[in-house]
């Protein structure tokens, strides 16, 4: 079963784990129901939809019933990544994290230091 190809996470990039329901009309990316926006009966991934409709959401309240929370998240994620130039660590970079720590990793050879930048 193919999984949704949309990336999530602000600091640590991860793949969405939901199954593919549609393919983006513009970029062809496999997308799940949560990451699909239907515009004029065609499914779009959030990135393409945001590029085509670049209106910003300033209101941080998520309690409005008509709000698509997944689209809100994608907009905010994109805005944060653009404004702060965050490059999230990828899954490949984090692959090392899955390895158990060795004794060498836990050795504390450095002197304790404390400094202000």
């Amino acid at each position: 079963m193919d999984l949704c190809q949309v990336k999530t996470g602000i600091f640590i990039e991860r793949n969405c784990q939901n199954p593919v329901d549609h393919h983006c009309y513009e970029c062809g990316l496999g997308i799940c129901e949560n990451h699909t926006v239907v515009d004029n009966t065609s499914p779009f991934c959030h990135a393409c939809y945001i590029n085509n409709n670049p209106t910003d959401i300033e209101d941080d309240s998520l309690t409005h019933s008509n709000r698509d929370h997944h689209l809100w998240y994608s907009r905010r994620r994109l805005k944060i990544h653009r404004s702060s130039r965050i490059v999230p660590f990828t899954q490949a970079e984090h692959h090392a994290f899955d390895q158990p720590a060795t004794a060498e990793h836990l050795l504390d050879n450095d002197a304790d230091d404390f400094f202000d930048s």
């Binding site: 999530t8 996470g9 602000i10 600091f11 640590i12 991860r14 941080d60 309240s61 998520l62 309690t63 929370h69 809100w72 998240y73 905010r76 994620r77 805005k79 944060i80 404004s83 702060s84 965050i86 660590f89 970079e93 984090h94 090392a96 994290f97 720590a101 060795t102 990793h105 836990l106 504390d108 450095d110 304790d112 230091d113 404390f114 400094f115 202000d116 930048s117």
Partner: protein, 263 residues
């Protein structure tokens, strides 16, 4: 939560978001209802005056007064359940944004106080400070937020926030000798973010301004703080009346940019 006005406990990200969302929807509806009752109270107040002035309608005035009292009591009761809007405008979007970065199956420890920041409970020991016979400062310190959770890369992120509200009361006398007290309120919030980073996963790449670094045992500790001033009036659009989620996210991102993954 609505009755006690604080959240305390351990939650899974999904459960916390659901709780915060339900609270926010409830708070939003109550706020709307409180405004509606207040508008009705004001409207009935003018109607009462009209009914008292117009002789033919005077007979109905007790009925309108009863309606006015009812609306006012309803407004007060609904207002009592009103929560600090930071729950709706800061906590909910913050956790909605960070949710996908939190380690699956890990729990969020959270304490959030949604009571009003100006309360005798939060008065600082040195408050009030008397400047002269006419001017006094009252200070209230409310540590309203504290929490921690583990991120997907095993970094422990802790945050806390406290709000310092300074109330300046100035006594003025009019030409006729009438005493008037003018009150001005200013608020500053201090947010402290700290990260506990396992050394076998990250190393310090380069120093970013405003971040304290400490190494101890197998961990690197990063700490950063920033202050947020609330806008003094609604006309001033420079400051948001709520703690900005983006500032907190940018501070965390600054801390992340100081790091490099160990190969």
């Amino acid at each position: 939560m609505v009755q006690q006005k604080f959240i305390q406990g351990e939650y899974t990200p999904n459960k916390l978001l659901k709780t915060l969302k339900n609270i926010s929807i409830y708070d939003e509806k109550k706020e709307g209802a409180a405004k509606l009752w207040l508008s009705l109270t004001t409207f009935l107040f003018f109607i009462v005056i009209v009914f008292l002035v117009v002789e033919d309608l005077r007979i109905f005035s007790p009925l309108v007064v009863a309606g006015l009292v009812f609306c006012y009591v309803k407004h007060k009761k609904t207002k009592k359940l009103d929560l600090n809007n930071q729950i709706r405008y800061f906590l909910l979007p913050f956790f909605a944004l960070i949710k996908d970065d939190i380690k699956s199956n890990s729990k969020i420890e959270l304490y959030a106080d949604a009571r009003a920041s100006i309360s005798p409970n939060y008065k600082t020991p040195e408050s009030p400070t008397k400047v002269n016979s006419r001017r006094r400062y009252y200070q209230y310190l409310q540590p309203w937020l504290k929490g921690s959770f583990t991120l997907a890369d095993d970094i422990e992120l802790a945050f806390e926030s406290q709000k310092l509200t300074t109330q300046t009361r100035v006594i003025k006398y009019s030409a006729s000798g009438k005493r008037k007290t003018k009150i001005k309120t200013k608020s500053v919030e201090t947010i402290i973010l700290s990260m506990m980073i396992p050394k076998h996963k990250y190393v310090i790449n380069h120093m970013k301004p405003g971040i304290q670094i400490k190494e101890k045992g197998e961990y690197i500790f990063l700490k950063s703080r920033f202050r947020y001033k609330y806008r003094p009036s609604l006309k001033d659009t420079k400051y948001s009346p709520y703690l900005p989620v983006d500032n907190v996210i940018h501070t965390i991102s600054n801390m992340y940019q100081s790091l490099k993954v160990v190969n």
